[in-house]
Symmetry: D2
């Protein structure tokens, strides 16, 4: 049994890590920290874990954390970068579910996240934890930057088109929609159900932090610089992300479905849906899958891709456990076999 720790366990990604890790056959949750809730049983905050998680939250203690084989950071942006260097120095491996190590261009990161980076030297070392792209590097990594939720859905949706060179990288549109759990478990008027229930809106239409993260991912495979317009939207539901992606074909007539089928043939967590499908977020609720459909609209010359994930699973905690499995030399899919909950 490997020993793992979770720093910052009172948010939804922390709770979701516990839900997935509690029955995991090869790891033991040694510690879960929270400054604000130290001493409180986890199951008091999260009654769905009653009987499965007997831990109490504790104040973060570097000794105890360093004793773990691997530590997850489920903290707000800017927290992990302060604690990770010491943990790595002591030989503990780290997966950060926040954004601290996702963007390689430090200046750009600082612009979007509004703070100075505490350990820029580790950003270069950190491996971006999208197994469909970086599987081998993840296995060896000391530090994994777990991807953002939108970036996971959008990158997996556009990747095959850009790798195959069949669309124009200079005019990509990603229209993202997310359930409200993506905004986290913090008290904010704008996230009250009375504010966001029975309503729909875009947000950050002028630019969102996940834009540069997606662009970085796509630039890694595109033949020319990517120009992506990304607009996120808030859906009156709890879980799920859907991204509808628009790209201009360079050579009409290519067999798009075959391109996707080939790219994801051996991926355990990408499901290419049949032609004509409309993936629904509920078909991945609680599961680690990304379901994708690709189509065209008549002779418009535009490829339309739909990509759905559960923002808390493949978009956060599930992908983190997938990365953990790789890092620990386990079966990549271990503990991630749950079927989606539908309806």
């Amino acid at each position: 049994m490997f020993k793992v720790g979770i720093v910052g366990g009172t948010g939804y990604t922390g709770a979701e890590l516990l839900r997935i890790l509690a029955p995991h056959p090869e790891v033991e949750i040694a510690v879960i920290t929270s400054r604000g809730e130290a001493g409180v049983p986890v199951a008091e905050l999260f009654p769905h874990l009653r009987g499965h998680v007997d831990l109490c939250f504790t104040a973060p203690d570097p000794e105890i954390l360093a004793d773990c084989d691997l530590v997850f950071f489920a903290t707000p942006n800017g927290t992990a970068m302060k604690l990770v260097p010491e943990l790595l120095a002591r030989g503990t491996r780290v997966i950060d579910l926040a954004a601290d190590f996702r963007i390689k261009d430090i200046a750009e990161w600082e612009r979007w996240y509004g703070m100075s980076h505490a350990c820029p030297e580790l950003v270069a070392e950190a491996v971006y934890g999208l197994p469909e792209v970086n599987r081998d590097q993840i296995r060896e990594a000391r530090l994994v930057a777990n991807p953002g939720c939108y970036p996971t859905a959008v990158t997996l949706g556009l990747l095959p088109l850009l790798e195959a060179g069949v669309v124009d990288p200079s005019w990509l549109i990603a229209d993202g929609k997310s359930g409200v759990s993506g905004a986290g478990r913090k008290a904010k008027v704008g996230q009250l159900m009375a504010e966001v229930g029975e309503s729909f809106k875009a947000y950050a239409a002028g630019g969102h932090r996940h834009g540069p993260e997606i662009t970085q991912n796509l630039n890694g495979v595109a033949a020319a610089p990517v120009n992506l317009t990304f607009v996120p939207h808030l859906v009156p539901m709890v879980r799920g992300i859907e991204a509808t992606l628009y790209a201009r074909e360079l050579e009409p007539g290519r067999d798009l479905e075959a391109i996707y089928a080939r790219r994801y043939a051996s991926e355990p967590f990408v499901d290419l849906m049949p032609a004509g499908s409309h993936p629904e977020t509920r078909t991945v609720r609680g599961s680690n899958l990304c379901r994708i459909a690709v189509t065209r609209q008549g002779a418009s010359g535009v490829v339309v891709v739909q990509s759905v994930i559960d923002n808390l699973v493949k978009g956060a905690a599930g992908q983190a456990v997938q990365n953990m499995n790789l890092m620990l030399g386990l079966d990549e899919a271990l503990g991630l076999g749950a079927l989606a909950l539908l309806p």
Copy 2:
């Protein structure tokens, strides 16, 4: 008092016509028809109308309808075209809330709607009932084709850009999202709450009937042929449409907000939101307004427009009453002053 009739009153657009017309100071609802519910009090099907609408549904009777000054068709596609010729011949004016008279190209209409048109000669005469475009023709019209819900939101959102010639008509994207009332009040497994609640999906990604309607609208003002990709989505809420629209700027640097402000300066039902706004569908719930915001994303060269309406009001019954007011020589906004219901 003008006498009006409603053909097909058991759907949501019929019910919404009743809600708006019942307190209207210048019209009297003379008749409301339904084959299936003939004899049943309207307030039995729609308890929210108890005390305000005392009518029973009746079987459609051309005599009684012809006695009206104006008749609304809130029927399924393909019904109005069979009954309208006789009504017009007898001097009754008509507003069709379905799609029978919206598309000028008969062949295209027949392809999308899967039937032969019963009175193609009237299609040419019919006026497309978007007051912001055709106000004067609507006043004089015998027959008005009330716009579709998505076409209203998308057309009003893109119109100023195309009229001003500031974006490329050959690469327009409209990502539309609608509440479930847009699918109507028919028993369908796919519209059960257990199927569409807590989930999000695109539909008709390969092409939707409202695509050619929008394209026709935009071609009317664009300098070159419009190439529009339109993908609709289903939102787990009851009312509201949001459309996020993407267009490529031809001449960066134009004052887009000023273009919209000028275009809609005297429009009673278009509200240009301040820069940086994100219009929410709830801010137009129950009202006849279309709220629009226009922005850019950095230097991407892409204009992002957000447009929201209540699909049953500005997207159907409210716009129909706006057209009725124009046709009857009344104040265009009469009976349409209700503020949105928020939260």
Copy 3:
């Protein structure tokens, strides 16, 4: 035109007062206060009021408020009691939408609300603003205590049974369910959509503040002391209250529907539904109506009453305007004629 003021305008009851009062033909909103938002245009916080309310929030100023004919307090519990004495002294009449003046027993009030009462002498004078019970006293009142949302639904539901003496007052059950807007517009983790969406629960099962308020109302008409068990529940929707009420019949066989019909025959805002009905909250959404149905379950000897209101309208702002109309000598229903928004 009467001049009215609103103290504490940033919550949902304040916003709803504005929505109803803005088009009211006999009053002018002279001032709306908020310490936190002073200087901010109302329409910035509440975009649905754009074009209808041009005021900015101002810091509360006794001079300006005293200049009003009537002032509404839409403040948290405990605020009105500190400001009302001065306003009354200067001749301004007051409607308090919070709980400060609802409960006559000061000790009981202080126990439930956890503070000392600042002006117990005014509690005796205050008239409980349920027009169906206290219409004449409301007309003459200087100070009206606007009822709570649950108390409105439950009291109107049980009143006819207790007045007619047909049920046992010592064993009454009120199972209440409310949409989330009842919890107000304050940032609280427990009211995030990610916490309360797609879930249902009771709260305050050990006792809720509205219990003693309801009991006080019913004791006013019951032949013997009332013993009421009241459990509220949170429904994953924004607006609406439903209360299902259970009472034991003392004399089986009475015509219950006739008792209700007689009691509410001339009430403009109580709608007795036909036998067998199941009132839905959506049939009163945005309207000032309370819809009630009364039935029995076989020979159980138990009367089952269903009562629905919109918690923000008949349960708060609408009832306050109804009270205002009475106090100002206007038609009781003025400005309250809006039909419910369904679907």
Copy 4:
């Protein structure tokens, strides 16, 4: 590996059986039938099962079914009773998830279900499949009548009180609330999201089929005849049942929590929550647990019990698998260990 069959697999209970049984380590799904969808891959109707269930629906064939060790009926009421006699005769054991074998009094069953019973002799033999009551008989049963969803939540909630004799059986109230999946996957106007979203209502207030089923359960343990008033309500969410139960104490002062703790001490799927808890339906979403809290309201003499389940799991398919495990001599909890999905 045991072979199991499912008759009627196109509804939600059928789909949920598949979700639970597909990864079950000791059974193999041999056949799943549907007349309407014969030949269609299961994963086409239920995309969340893609990759986990490779079967196609087949027309019901007695040969194939009789070849199974155990057959589940997930059919409408009235179907199982026609097919079960032959299966039993051929040695196949049966769990009926519908109501055909739940009520021992045939006349009462026929009154509530509106049909003649096809095999009344089997009703006497059938074991009511509530393991917390009939565990030993279930192990030996040929035919198990799987309980209704409301009856499961209400019976588990009231059982300890009646067994201990601490409440008056002649005055019990059960106020039940269910998500919309309880109404099944049939096209009905009344279950459209546009009809039931953002609204709340009671239904069957005059009497519901689950009333006599609950009464039968409670009469089995009560000291005197039970008089229960049960009113179900529809909640605008997909999954979950909450029942709030009211009973009059016969001897105030008993330690209610201890009574529940003792009764359910060794039950794997009943979780007694701490005093003051308010069980939320989301804490059991997707899990087979029933969570219960018991409290009093001051000195009212009324016990208030809250009981929550997932209507499709402990209220249907999960409980059926629990029964199957017992019948097949397996660990009762096998395949039922999934944690609830929260948020």
